[in-house]
């Protein structure tokens, strides 16, 4: 009888673990697909791309951790993450647009990003939600993104505080982005995520300081990955912007030929 009970408990635990796996992780995909492009969004470098993790990147590998601490009585870890998932784009710096699914952050969903770079260029890229549970969610980048890797947003409760964290594990995707990161890109990224975390804290009524920790996990560059530049979202976005006048003239000509 005891054996039967043990087996029943074990089976129940296995079923619960399998349900947890299926719920929190994205399903396997070989290439990304954007089901619906929101009005105003540019979708250039996402559809048909493969995901690219830190192993597939070119540059040095970095782990960057940004944290803010809030009093636990203001918000619990699970409530903070629920809000962060729901209002993710609201906390970003101005000029950077995240076109997520209307249903919010959920495993397997693909979001388009239109980022404003210094000089006013709009860089079009995206991310896929790799993982999402009640206390964390992770976004993974496609080929051609500025960096290859993922960002995990999480919240934990420690010593009467709720600690909100964004942690980036990344390599620059290609030699051009590596140069860009070295020439101020890292600083821009630090400012971006510090701003985001300050906005999260402000949403819960706290003016919190952001702790930043940067670790170079691997100093070596993966020169065999230099050809990632072929997918570069910066080059493709620049090409798209330069082609705008030609596309506009073509549209006008087409309209002129079409009878009313």
């Amino acid at each position: 009888m005891g054996d039967v009970n043990d087996r029943t408990t074990e089976n129940a635990l296995d079923t619960a673990a399998a349900a947890r796996d299926a719920t929190y992780w994205a399903k396997a995909v070989t290439r990304l697909n954007v089901s619906e492009v929101p009005k105003g969004a540019i979708n250039l470098n996402v559809t048909g791309k493969q995901l690219a993790g830190p192993i597939q990147g070119f540059g040095k590998m970095w782990q960057k951790t940004y944290q803010v601490r809030l009093p636990r009585e203001r918000v619990s870890a699970t409530d903070l993450i629920a809000t962060w998932k729901q209002r993710f784009p609201d906390f970003w710096p101005e000029g950077n647009l995240f076109y997520g699914p209307l249903t919010g952050i959920a495993p397997g969903e693909v979001a388009l990003l239109n980022m404003t770079l210094p000089g006013g260029m709009t860089l079009s890229t995206g991310v896929m939600v790799l993982y999402a549970d009640e206390e964390s969610f992770t976004l993974m980048t496609p080929q051609g993104h500025m960096f290859a890797g993922w960002i995990t947003f999480s919240a934990t409760e420690r010593d009467g505080e709720t600690v909100a964290q964004a942690q980036v594990l990344m390599r620059a995707s290609d030699p051009i982005f590596e140069l860009g990161l070295t020439l101020g890109g890292h600083r821009q990224e630090d400012l971006f995520w510090s701003h985001t975390l300050r906005e999260v804290a402000a949403h819960f009524g706290e003016a919190a300081d952001v702790d930043t920790q940067v670790v170079c996990v691997d100093k070596r560059r993966q020169w065999s990955r230099w050809s990632n530049v072929w997918h570069s979202s910066a080059i493709r976005s620049a090409g798209y912007m330069l082609g705008a006048p030609i596309r506009g003239a073509r549209d006008l000509a087409r309209r002129g030929r079409t009878p009313d």
Partner: protein, 116 residues
């Protein structure tokens, strides 16, 4: 998310060290995993046994990437076996399978590591 809920036992088989993973692997497992890795010493191959893995989140996958960097730095191969179908898919999704060779059994992993 930060508490360690996994244990890592290390066994030596000739030129390879097998790391038996038990429990939930999350970012909170960093210290115990890295300490197990240090115990594995100068083995030519590190074989991760996932047969008793209960659960792994994205923080756990991140740890495996940093472990891979350390192993590469020491010219060690990183291998895995005992992965469920679900976690095989996660290795493919995160493209970890391009750097960590996946095997069906301990014997197969040890053979690939050159252990007879």
């Amino acid at each position: 998310m930060t508490e360690a809920t996994a244990t890592f036992g290390v066994r030596r088989h000739g030129a390879a060290s097998v790391v038996d993973i038990q429990g939930d692997v999350t970012s909170g497992s960093e210290d115990v995993l890295m300490s197990a890795y240090e115990s594995a010493g100068d083995a030519g191959a590190i074989v991760l046994n996932f047969s008793d893995l209960s659960y792994m989140n994205s923080g756990g996958i991140g740890l495996l990437v940093t472990l891979l960097v350390r192993a590469n730095r020491r010219s060690q191969q990183l291998m895995a076996y005992g992965l469920s179908d679900h976690y095989r898919q996660i290795f493919e999704l995160t493209r970890l399978d391009e750097a960590v060779s996946i095997h069906d059994s301990e014997q197969s992993a040890l053979r690939a590591a050159g252990v007879r």
